[in-house]
Structures are given as structure tokens and as C-alpha cells.
């Protein structure tokens, strides 16, 4: 098969791929991916889009859509993977693609997807060329991109809905502002002179009174930034903590009295020959996780506790009892190798050697004795990720956790960076209920959406997407909850395959 046939084969698979327009050689990652795509249908999940804006498309609805479930599910994730014969080398480098599933309340579900027009994206667009540097993408012949963190910020991890706009979040940069109707990018967020350009990471926590807490970090200066945005405040309040060595924290927790930021021993150790931000990090299996615990009323006050060596991407939630014990849960990994291995291998089209193998774990921090412990909870033969809760309980006592799951017997999916089910676990009783997707469908993060007027964390729906990479369909699925067991009651289908994404938020219609 010649190069053109190879490319046409790839383009035909999803209808998204574009042929390179120039005679310059295709890069190795691009060639390898498209060669493998011919024989590995699951790679379509990582092929990416080329279309800047799909416009709204009507989806086909099956089943009985719950009458009270009206609003928009916004999802973010790596969307554009390649440009003119060049391809990012790491999944996390894909330019952010924002998707809206709009449930209009009149029985229709519409979908729109639009690439987030960051400084980096626009610079690449002008040249029709990837800048070829990123979080985990390296080139010996880099094209200079925008300076500082904006040279890497692809705004591709998650979304924070605000009063009349969305913030598209990345880990190491400022949020990008998005119009929630048109999904048009309206600019880089600068809340004040002091905070202009400061990193605002991708998993802010919102208290019931609307106060937003977050952290950001800037590794070259070993600087941790704590953010607080209270409703009505004109400017955010920040606190700075020198944190050396800096880790790569992805998520954190709040309770009524504390902020908790676990720092796995993946240390930023800048070398002269550093190739990418990711590769400037060294995993130290001999060192513990340092957990920063900050006083929420005075975040200058801090102490550290230690947990055993492990890697954690996401936490479900934390709460604090009257004795000052903080409890939180999350899927624990032995190390961060997925990030160094799997998420690069899939960009080349290789079948990774590693599967997702996590263990749901409960952590307890005793704030009075300043100690920490952990214990495995939940099934030991199921790996999980993307833990979510009823967000109304952020920082408060909670009992139910929803997560994507994968049985050990289905570890093939795990190697491919996919899960095959969604599970609910009752943290008090240990009861687990799961819905298994067909093997050709890759589920994405599923959210708990409370029913209108409900007060209980069981009185709601699960709402989540799944990607049928064989029949080239994307589904929005709704589940009723009967105890732990999610029961699918309706789905809306978009007649094309979208790229596998990361996180989203549901905004109920008002």
C-alpha cells in the first residue's frame, strides 16, 4: 500500500482525517499511527478531529428520556492530534475539543464540537503546522511557539461553568473563556493583574456557597498557588507556597476546614537536556507521597503528612469529622507509568504493554496527630478511574461514588486506555453495581445529575458518553439508579465517532 492509499484508508475510517497538503515528510509518529490504524479499529478513539467547528447536529434518541433531565453536558478532551502530516507524541498534547450535548427539554438532543482557540492553536493554525513541542511531545527541530506556559496550554482537560461562560481548564496555565452557546473561545482569563497568567489547574472544587478553591503550580520556580474565588469578590485571593521538590499534582481536595494536596514523588528535576515538561520529571519509588494540608481559613498555615509511594490522578471527595479526621477516596496506581508509556504508545498506534491497574483506596489524615493512613476498599479485581460524586456534597460527608471501571478479565481494554463499565459503590456498605458496555464501546466519565428538587445523593441520574469505535457512533447515555445498579433508560446517538475525551460538567437548564 502506498502512502496515499494508507492516508485515504485512515481518512475514510472516521471522515475526519485530512490529507497532508505539502511534500514535507510525514513524521514518524504520524506514519506509525496511520499504519496501525488500518488494522486496529480502537485507534480511531485517538485519531482526532480536523474540523474546527461541527455546528449543531441533531441526535437520534432511543428509550424514554427523563422529562426532568434538561440542560447541557459540556465535555473537554484532547481533540486535534495532528496537522499536515505531523502528530503529537502524547495523548495529553491534543488541542482541546469542547463538546456540548444540549438536551433542549422538547425531546431533542443536539451535539456540537469546537476546538478551543488557544494562543498555541491559533499560532499553529496560521502556519498549518504543529509547533511540535508540548507536555510530552518533543522535536529536534521545534518551531518556536508562544512563550511561557501559553506555548503549551491546549486547554484540554476539563470545564468549569461560571455564571455566563465556561472556563476551559488545563493543568499548567490560565483558563480559556468559552461562550456556552456557540462554544467560541473568547479569550484567556485574567482575573486581576496579580494573578494574570498564573496556572489554574483542571480540578477546582466548588463549595455549596459557590466558593471556588483551586491550586496551580509553576515547577521552574517550585511555586504552588492556592486560589479562592468567592461569589461577589471582585478579585480572587491567592496564597503562594514554595514547594520543593515540586511534584505533578493533578487533583486536590477540600473539607470544611482544610485543603489537601497530595504530592506523589514524581519530581520536577530540570536538566539541561530536558526534552519535554513530562520528561523533566523523575519518579522516586523510594520516596513517600507528601500530602500538603492547609488551613482553609488561613492557607498560609500548612503541615505535611506522608502516605506510601503511589501515583494518583483523581480523588472523589473529602470530608472531615468532628475529631479532625479527614477521609478521602481515589484510585491508586503503583506508579505514573501510564503517563510515560501508554499515553505515548497509543499516539504511535502501538498496543501498550501496560493496563490500567488501580485500586480504589481510602485515605485518612488525622489533623490533630498529623498522621495519615490508607486502606484498599472496593473490589480488588476491578480497576477504576474518573471518580465522581454528587457535587452538592463537595467537602462534606458522602456515601456514593461513581467511577469508570474495568474488570481484570477485560484487561485488553485497559491496555488500550479504555474502560468497559460504569460502577457505583456505596462507601458505607461496600455494595457495588456495574453496567458493562459492549466491547466495541469505550465509556467516558459518567456524572451524577440530581433530579430537580432532590436532596439525596441517590435521587438522580447517571449521565455519560460512550464511543462505538466499530460502528462510528457516539452515545449520550442516561441511567436511572436502583440502589447501586445503574440501569440505562435512554441514549442519544450522534452518527459519528468523537475522540476519547477527559472531563465534563452538566449545567442544568434554569
Amino acid at each position: 500500500m502506498n502512502r496515499r492509499e494508507l492516508l485515504l484508508g485512515s481518512a475514510a475510517s472516521t471522515g475526519f482525517a485530512a490529507l497532508p497538503s505539502r511534500a514535507a515528510p510525514l513524521d514518524e509518529t504520524y506514519q506509525s499511527f496511520h499504519r496501525n490504524l488500518l488494522t486496529k479499529p480502537w485507534l480511531r478513539l485517538y485519531e482526532g478531529v480536523h474540523e474546527e467547528d461541527t455546528g449543531y447536529q441533531l441526535c437520534e434518541v432511543e428509550g424514554t428520556w427523563p422529562a426532568g433531565l434538561v440542560g447541557s453536558l459540556y465535555r473537554n478532551g484532547p481533540g486535534r492530534m495532528e496537522r499536515d502530516g505531523r502528530r503529537y507524541q502524547h495523548w495529553f498534547d491534543g488541542d482541546g475539543l469542547l463538546q456540548r450535548w444540549w438536551i433542549d427539554g422538547n425531546g431533542a438532543v443536539l451535539h456540537r464540537a469546537r476546538l478551543i482557540q488557544t494562543t498555541k492553536y491559533l499560532a499553529d493554525e496560521r502556519r498549518n503546522e504543529l509547533s511540535r513541542v508540548g507536555f510530552g511531545t518533543h522535536s529536534n527541530d521545534p518551531i518556536p511557539g508562544p512563550p511561557g506556559t501559553e506555548g503549551l496550554n491546549v486547554a484540554n482537560i476539563s470545564i468549569l461553568p461560571r455564571a455566563d461562560e465556561l472556563w476551559a481548564l488545563w493543568e499548567g496555565g490560565a483558563p480559556w473563556r468559552i461562550n456556552p452557546q456557540t462554544l467560541r473561545t473568547t479569550g484567556l482569563l485574567a482575573l486581576s493583574d496579580e494573578t494574570s497568567g498564573l496556572p489554574f489547574s483542571a480540578h477546582p472544587r466548588v463549595e455549596s456557597d459557590g466558593t471556588v478553591w483551586n491550586f496551580g503550580y509553576f515547577s521552574p520556580r517550585n511555586m504552588m498557588i492556592i486560589w479562592r474565588l468567592r461569589p461577589g469578590d471582585i478579585e480572587p485571593k491567592i496564597w503562594l507556597h514554595l514547594t520543593e521538590p515540586m511534584s505533578m499534582p493533578h487533583d486536590f481536595l477540600i473539607t470544611k476546614n482544610h485543603l489537601v494536596i497530595p504530592l506523589p514523588p514524581l519530581h520536577f528535576e530540570l536538566q539541561e537536556d530536558m526534552t519535554t515538561f513530562l520528561d523533566a520529571h523523575v519518579w522516586h519509588p523510594e520516596l513517600p507521597v507528601q500530602v500538603m494540608v492547609l488551613d482553609k481559613n488561613d492557607p498560609n498555615k500548612r503541615f505535611n503528612v506522608e502516605l506510601p509511594t503511589q501515583w494518583i490522578f483523581h480523588y472523589a471527595n473529602a470530608w472531615e469529622d468532628e475529631q479532625g479526621a479527614i477521609r478521602f477516596e481515589g484510585p491508586s496506581f503503583d506508579n505514573p507509568n501510564l503517563m510515560f508509556d501508554t499515553f505515548r504508545a497509543i499516539m504511535r498506534g502501538s498496543t501498550p504493554s501496560l493496563a490500567y491497574t488501580s485500586q480504589l483506596t481510602r485515605y485518612t489524615v488525622d489533623t490533630r496527630r498529623q498522621t495519615a493512613t490508607q486502606e484498599a476498599i472496593g473490589p480488588t479485581d476491578v480497576s477504576s478511574e474518573f471518580p465522581v460524586i454528587d457535587q452538592r456534597l463537595t467537602g462534606a460527608r458522602y456515601r456514593w461514588l461513581t467511577m469508570l471501571s474495568q474488570n481484570a478479565s477485560a484487561s485488553t481494554q485497559g491496555k488500550l486506555g479504555m474502560f468497559n463499565g460504569v460502577s457505583r459503590i456505596n462507601l458505607d456498605t461496600g455494595a457495588v453495581g456495574s453496567f458493562q458496555y459492549p466491547t466495541e464501546e469505550a465509556p467516558e466519565e459518567h456524572l451524577f445529575v440530581p433530579k430537580p428538587g432532590s436532596q439525596s445523593e441517590t435521587d438522580g441520574w447517571l449521565l455519560g458518553t460512550s464511543l462505538d469505535y466499530v460502528n462510528l457512533r457516539t452515545h449520550l447515555n442516561v441511567f436511572e439508579l436502583e440502589q447501586a445498579l445503574p440501569k440505562m433508560v435512554a441514549r442519544a446517538t450522534l452518527p459519528k465517532l468523537m475522540p476519547l475525551g477527559l472531563h465534563g460538567k452538566f449545567v442544568a437548564a434554569t
Binding site: 508562544p146 512563550p147 511561557g148 503549551l152 494573578t195 498564573l198 509553576f218 503562594l240
Partner: protein, 135 residues
């Protein structure tokens, strides 16, 4: 007499070693404020110490040029556009620039200040044009 000899030597040297350094600042988006130019000659001073020479010039968009006589040698240049007239490069809470700035050779500053070796150039007898793109 000794004084006059010293002046004579000095004039002779400057006459033989001086060259034009043209600083060409591009990507100037706003005709606002003042451009501050710092010439660096000693690596040990970069970036926290004092530059060897400092100049200011009016802003012309999209390109501002400034030429000076300078001895032949190795130099680096940094510039910034002071948009609000406070005579300093404004920075955010962790010290990252908030006003347009540029570095000779467009030296990368992705993980900290640009490396000295990446930003230096040689001014020879024929002079040199250093192009700095504002970021």
C-alpha cells in the same frame, strides 16, 4: 600631559573598535508607552544584576528600531514595552512578565530565564542587527 595621552588612546581605540548595533524590535502591537532596552555583556549579571547599558526609545508599531555605537564583542539584549509608564516590567505574583518583552535570538524562556548562551551574539566590525520579537 598624561591626561591628554589617555584621551588620545581612548579616542583611537573607540574609533577602531566601534560598530553599529541595530536593535530591531518586531511584533509591536500597540504604539503605547516606552521601550526599555538593556544591553548585557557579562553573563554573571544576567538576569538578576544590572545590565551593561540601558536605553529607552519611543514606540513605533509594528517595528521599532534603535541603533547605537558599541565596541566589537559578545552581547545579549533584552527589551520590554512599558505600557503603563511605571518604568518597570510588570510581573504577576510568581514573577512572570505581564508586559511585552523580547530577548535576543528569540531565546526560549519556557522553563525560566533564557540561557545566556542562547541569547548572545557577536558584534563585528561590520556591525550587527539584533532582531527581537516581542512576546
Amino acid at each position: 600631559m598624561k591626561f591628554l595621552v589617555t584621551i588620545a588612546i581612548s579616542l583611537t581605540c573607540s574609533a577602531t573598535l566601534a560598530a553599529d548595533l541595530t536593535i530591531k524590535i518586531t511584533n509591536v502591537e500597540e504604539t503605547t508607552g516606552t521601550i526599555y532596552i538593556a544591553i548585557w555583556k557579562d553573563e554573571t549579571n544576567w538576569p538578576a544584576g544590572e545590565p551593561w547599558r540601558g536605553y529607552t526609545t519611543a514606540v513605533q508599531a509594528p517595528e521599532t528600531n534603535y541603533t547605537l555605537d558599541i565596541e566589537e564583542g559578545i552581547y545579549a539584549v533584552s527589551v520590554f514595552q512599558d505600557l503603563n509608564g511605571n518604568a518597570k516590567l510588570d510581573r504577576n505574583a510568581i514573577g512572570l512578565p505581564r508586559e511585552p518583552y523580547g530577548i535576543s535570538n528569540d531565546a526560549p524562556a519556557r522553563f525560566g530565564p533564557p540561557k545566556w548562551q542562547k541569547m548572545t551574539f557577536r558584534v563585528g566590525a561590520e556591525g550587527y542587527t539584533a532582531e527581537l520579537k516581542l512576546r
